[in-house]
Symmetry: C2
Subunit: 331 residues, 2 copies
């Protein structure tokens, strides 16, 4: 018996059951009585949801991230940790790696700690195949689950994400405007965010009346140097004149490739990175990049968590626009 069963039996939404458990004002007396009656009838014991009711919360948020040695994810964790602490909550951190079975194990583990909510940090948690996300859907029946930069359409699951598709679409159109004709889209993984970026790239081609050429999209998940070498080989297949990269490190590889080929940047060859991270300003000329407004996304997530705890309504999906940062690798 869980909160989902209670909601079905009482004929109300999970959010309403959650509001009753949190002692929120925003529930009619009639609904409250109905929900409490169902809970009594079924012998349901509220655990972590029951903050207002039983005050037995441990005031702790479970953060799951694939790898906090990834600068982007680490920065997100830093923002989240500070935001939650400012609201009186601790964070338990789990670095899960990228393997599905290990993630499932860690999610069970963190649920067993009776955390008040779970935040999935990074879009790699949302898998392509629906069945691979079932464990997340199940978790959301126990505690509210929040996701940074990924989206899953299920109850009690709240996502704040950057409009990656729109950002890449605009970037690709800009490159055509600047006179380039053979953009390469370079990405690291088919995560939720990676797929959105690819969608944006294809959408730009479509808008321009083009379709993707063979080898116009390349997936690389190796070191900066290995990617640089791979690009030199790939150039033989598809002679690209500009690169849109899924992250700044991939963009640095493209930068190194262009320098090695003695292409003039940005006149003969343009590069656009993603994330606006520190590596973007380490090369010369510095990388033009897309800032996906991580600080705002994390702040919004903390706010959403607190709103859910207070029984307020929160949208399942909050979308933020990215900012293009023009530096030396674009006209």
């Amino acid at each position: 018996m869980n909160i989902y069963d209670i909601s079905k039996k009482a004929g109300v939404s999970i959010a309403t059951v959650s509001r009753v458990l949190n002692g929120s004002e925003n529930v009619s007396e009639k609904t409250r009585k109905k929900v409490l009656a169902v809970m009594k009838e079924t012998g349901y014991t509220p655990n972590v949801f029951a903050r207002g009711l039983t005050n037995n919360t441990i005031q702790t948020i479970g953060l799951l991230c694939a790898d906090c040695s990834d600068h982007f994810l680490a920065t997100a964790i830093s923002y989240l940790e500070r935001g939650f602490r400012a609201n009186g909550y601790d964070c338990i951190l789990c670095c899960t790696g990228y393997e599905l079975s290990i993630r499932q194990k860690y999610l069970r583990l963190i649920l067993s700690k009776k955390v008040d909510a779970i935040v999935l940090v990074g879009s790699t948690f949302i898998e392509n195949h629906p069945s691979d996300n079932q464990y997340l859907i199940d978790a959301a029946l126990q505690v509210p689950v929040f996701c940074i930069n990924g989206f899953l359409d299920t109850e009690n699951f709240y996502c704040t994400l950057c409009d990656d598709a729109g950002a890449v679409r605009s970037a690709a159109i800009k490159l055509f405007d600047d006179g380039f004709t053979k953009p390469l889209f370079l990405y690291r993984s088919a995560s939720y965010s990676g797929r959105q970026k690819e969608r944006g790239f294809l959408n730009a081609l479509e808008i321009l009346g083009l379709s993707a050429e063979p080898n116009q999209i390349l997936c690389m998940n190796t070191s900066i140097d290995a990617t640089k070498s791979a690009l030199a080989a790939h150039y033989q297949q598809f002679a690209f004149d500009c690169v849109i990269a899924g992250d700044d490190e991939l963009a640095v590889s493209a930068h190194k490739f262009a320098k090695a080929q003695e292409f003039r940047i940005p006149d003969e060859f343009s590069i656009i990175g993603y994330n606006n991270s520190k590596v973007a300003v380490c090369c010369e000329p510095e990388l033009s990049t897309i800032d996906n407004r991580l600080e705002y996304i994390c702040g919004n997530t903390v706010e959403n968590v607190m709103n859910i705890f207070n029984g307020q309504a929160v949208p399942n999906k909050t979308m933020v626009s990215a900012c293009f940062i023009r530096r030396g690798t674009t006209k």
Copy 2:
């Protein structure tokens, strides 16, 4: 009444009291009885130490780091989190910032969570003035405290650190060997590690029969671009021909300065970074840098924590040698 008082009253070391509390085999029956008698007499209630005895541990390590959006610290947290998890421990993470009073507050907070041990991630926790470290000394009377890359000589406090002084000394001597005569030492903060690096630099000059010239040591804690501009101004005061930087980002600033001045790297101008981070391979030529073996240091710390929990002896200071990584900015 704390573990320190017990150890004084029983006339044994804190480590011995800890071993008794942990139910370790490595204590004579006589000593065990004496310690338990003192504990009974004084009404001492063991809390977090009492793992073996009462089994009421929460199996959680408190990690304190100044700022996990700092790539070096985030990488350390990633290694530590995985190491502790492999041993069945969770990590609670606190990002404390750099202000002493805020740190003291967070340390109190994390102690109130009854964590089994505390790991201070980064040398910025060890202050120059002894009185500013009193709160750490006090904390170590309640739980074992471990420190990554900083050293404090007090009971129940265990440090694993890189020989930063030795690494910078070798780097400086190498630059003189390569024919340079005016090295600038560029560092970010007077943290424990920052002070060791400076000591190594001065030591190298001493070995070579030199003494530091005015303006030969520069502290900068700003963005990559701001440091680059500051170096151009500083060059008017002290015409340096090579730079040893306290971290790779500072080294990138020096790299940008040298490029702007059109100095030929590494023939006319050499640069050595520190940390062997990703930014070191983002510039062209890539940075020679010092790898302070963070993974090893973190692994050793996890091992030390587990040994303390098991009542085994652990040295107060474990020193690791750094590795010089030669890339394009040195001969």
